[in-house]
Subunit: 473 residues, 2 copies
């Protein structure tokens, strides 16, 4: 025990040293959520979950770690960002990197061929954090996926509808949802003369076009990745195209692309998708964009990404509000990788990147005058005189048992002023005051904090009175 106590003291001293250096965060790139942040977070979750439920989704959950091998070979160049657990005996484990691979593992393990589910949970990436912009090493994903063999583009269109509903609902400002298809990309690479073996790596280069100009991407393709300048220039012409149904029609007539089987499939499906999105009335926010590539290896068809646009009145330092907030696509091969017989389950899904949305709403709230409540307490049980602790305990117990949200100060003899101040500070709308006279009369004095009005209420009517006065309109 002595050695243990000593180790504890040493650890404590070390912790204290770090705290003094302000290095106390559990890890660079993670953060605690205090009550105010949690209140914002719960608003956002509530909007997202309502939308997922509106579309009939079930909910599942999976462990925070997976067998290391489950994650291997699914994320392309990003695999180096996976957190591993220490080998302490037993299986080798890693923290989940996204919710899509655990979902595919879950489907294969349970032989599920048909499900529409959502999953909201934290994922882990050993990335360079950029916390003011909402990029963390531990962050939430909110995923909605539809698994099953269905007629083309119907579930895909619903995923885009969901993104549109959520971003509209959260009022984050103007946005655009870029759409493309891995088959169109691959067909395009083929007709531009990219060798098969270079498809994925050239795709990674294209993926950078939202951050760097074409010239830089081109020189990476030619210089680092050894693509011929002619092929790069042909790609360059395509990836600068974006538009709607008219662009799809134009490409379906393109003499080269229309000869490629994959591209043609992709374009026909894209046309069908746009027809469905027109019926949903959301094409105004959708852009078919040939530069959209997305990094992950597992996509096989439609891919998409929602991007917040800069507001006209926005300053550069507010650019947290700009960038990708949702992404997804079709991955028909992933479940088969976990099935002993390789049976495929086609899937399409969307992931909402919640941290950037939190950052936007946090900053907006700080800038505004709105005071956010972090509790739902309806009434403070108080007393004006001394020696009434027992009466307060009796009354608050009655209120709790009747389902009323009630608090009291944990003091034997608190001052009335302190009790009223507590209500002001925390937004509690009512105070139930017990006093000797009230006890004799069988009443409780109910004070309305906002108006300072006070009314005597018969004790047996108090619960009903509190309910009426605090019921949501």
């Amino acid at each position: 025990m002595a050695a243990q106590a000593e180790a504890a003291v040493r650890a404590q001293a070390e912790t204290v040293r770090r705290l003094k250096q302000d290095k106390a965060d559990p890890d660079e790139g993670t953060r605690d959520y205090g009550p105010k942040q949690m209140a914002i977070r719960e608003r956002v979750f509530s909007a997202i979950i309502s939308c997922f439920k509106r579309h009939g989704a079930e909910v599942i959950d999976t462990p925070v770690f997976e067998l290391k091998e489950t994650l291997t070979g699914k994320y392309g160049e990003d695999s180096k960002l996976i957190y591993d657990l220490k080998d302490q005996g037993g299986e080798l484990l890693s923290l989940r990197y996204d919710l899509t691979v655990p979902f595919a593992r879950y489907l294969a393990m349970n032989k599920i061929t048909n499900i529409k589910r959502y999953h909201i949970a934290k994922v882990y990436r050993r990335d360079n954090p950029a916390m003011t912009r909402g990029r963390y090493r531990e962050f939430y994903q909110c995923d909605f996926d539809i698994a099953g063999q269905f007629d083309p583009m119907i579930p895909d269109a619903e995923c885009l509808k969901i993104v549109h509903e959520i971003l509209s609902d959260l009022q984050l400002g103007d946005f655009v949802i870029k759409v493309n298809d891995r088959r169109i990309l691959d067909g395009m690479f083929a007709v531009c003369g990219v060798p098969d073996s270079k498809f994925r790596t050239i795709c990674s280069s294209v993926d950078k076009l939202d951050k760097v100009p074409w010239e830089e991407v081109r020189s990476e393709m030619v210089g680092e990745k050894g693509l011929s300048p002619e092929a790069a220039d042909r790609i360059g012409e395509y990836v600068q195209l974006h538009g709607g149904l008219d662009l799809i029609e134009q490409l379906l007539q393109d003499p080269k692309l229309s000869q490629n089987k994959l591209a043609k499939e992709g374009l026909s499906d894209m046309k069908l998708l746009f027809e469905y999105l027109t019926l949903f009335g959301i094409t105004g926010k959708i852009s078919f964009d040939l530069s959209l590539a997305r990094g992950l290896d597992y996509y096989t068809g439609v891919i998409f990404e929602a991007v917040l646009l800069q507001q006209e009145n926005e300053h550069v330092e507010e650019l947290v509000g700009v960038g990708s907030v949702a992404g997804g696509g079709r991955y028909d091969g992933l479940v088969g990788m976990f099935d002993p017989k390789g049976r495929k389950v086609p899937c399409v899904g969307v992931s909402i990147g919640i941290e950037r949305i939190f950052s936007i709403l946090e900053q907006r709230l700080e800038a505004s005058e709105e005071k956010i409540r972090t509790t739902e307490t309806q009434v403070l049980v108080a007393s004006a005189q001394k020696k009434l602790l027992e009466e307060r305990l009796k009354l608050i117990s009655e209120l709790w048992d009747a389902g009323i949200k009630a608090e009291m100060l944990y003091k034997k003899n608190p001052k009335l002023l302190n009790q009223l101040q507590y209500c002001e500070d925390t937004g509690i709308p009512l105070v139930a005051i017990v006093g000797e006279q009230e006890l004799k009369d069988g009443v409780v004095k109910l004070r309305i904090v906002a108006t300072r009005e006070e009314v005597n209420i018969r004790r047996e009517s108090l619960v009903e009175e509190i309910r009426t006065r605090t019921s949501q309109p």
Copy 2:
């Protein structure tokens, strides 16, 4: 890329091999939650969160991992059960073992001296799993804590009230909440002649009394831990005592205990606690039990543990329903361990062990006939004829935009029978059927699944009609 692809194929082959051996679980001792388990889980969470909010708690969240040193020296003999992350550069990290230590670290880091918060999250222990009994390596804790300098026993009493409310609300059967105080235990050890240096280890032995008989515990004390037989026998007399106010009074008169300062303090506070619990009307389920010790190092005052009792009609194989489901106590020194100046913040809190409660409710639901719905869908948008996909898409989009929870089958031309069967299977109460005649007439045929009744509703009244027919009573 070739090496990477090869590694992926190897990993996939290995995964497939394991799946064939039915060893596909992410880790022994963890589990996925499917939609049915999630529905139960959300019911339980909702009851617990309501209670926490009723008592005015705010909510916080912390990262799943902490600096390894933060956890060191806090858990006594259980420290060996902590999961470490692999050293991949950067800080050494460990998965959190409970929510109490992260809470204390959060308070010290943010210099918070006063908060009432709850926190619901997963914690990790490399323990021997016993999954049918609800013991996992990854499991939820639901913690409620009150931090701050207050008058004695008022927050402590509220924690016990909360446990009482939650266990009553969840209707898990009969239960008892055992209460003791570390100061009473330490005082008792002192008057029984246990040397100071053996307090903690003898306390660990006493902690086993809920699982093994006194004789075994005694022989551990004397044989393994070198306590004198006389001291052990004196302890033996005390730890077999349990009762209420009368036992407290009796011990306050005990010639030896009453001479010990710590024990006297503990007993006086215990008396005060029972007075408050009497005002709350819950002493019927509270037992002052001198054998309750609790394993963790950080407790300094009141400790408690709620235990489900065996039902009269219960078989031995149903014993999942028996055992500890909540525990907690006062830990006045923990926050100070993280503060550079050692400033203390007194805390008391309770942790609800949710996994055993899930197991009980899952088994109960399986035994019953109740069919649990896993979605909240109000209406299925269907068609009786072919070529109406576009009309279904238009209608469902209108319903979603009006906030109605609606689904459709992802088929171009689904059979009506299949659509009705889907409603039966998933519990959707209404079907909105579009047909050519209805479209001409500007109506939708609304079918009530339970009664097979069908009524034509004007399209502009459909949303209102669905709301009325699916509103909760």
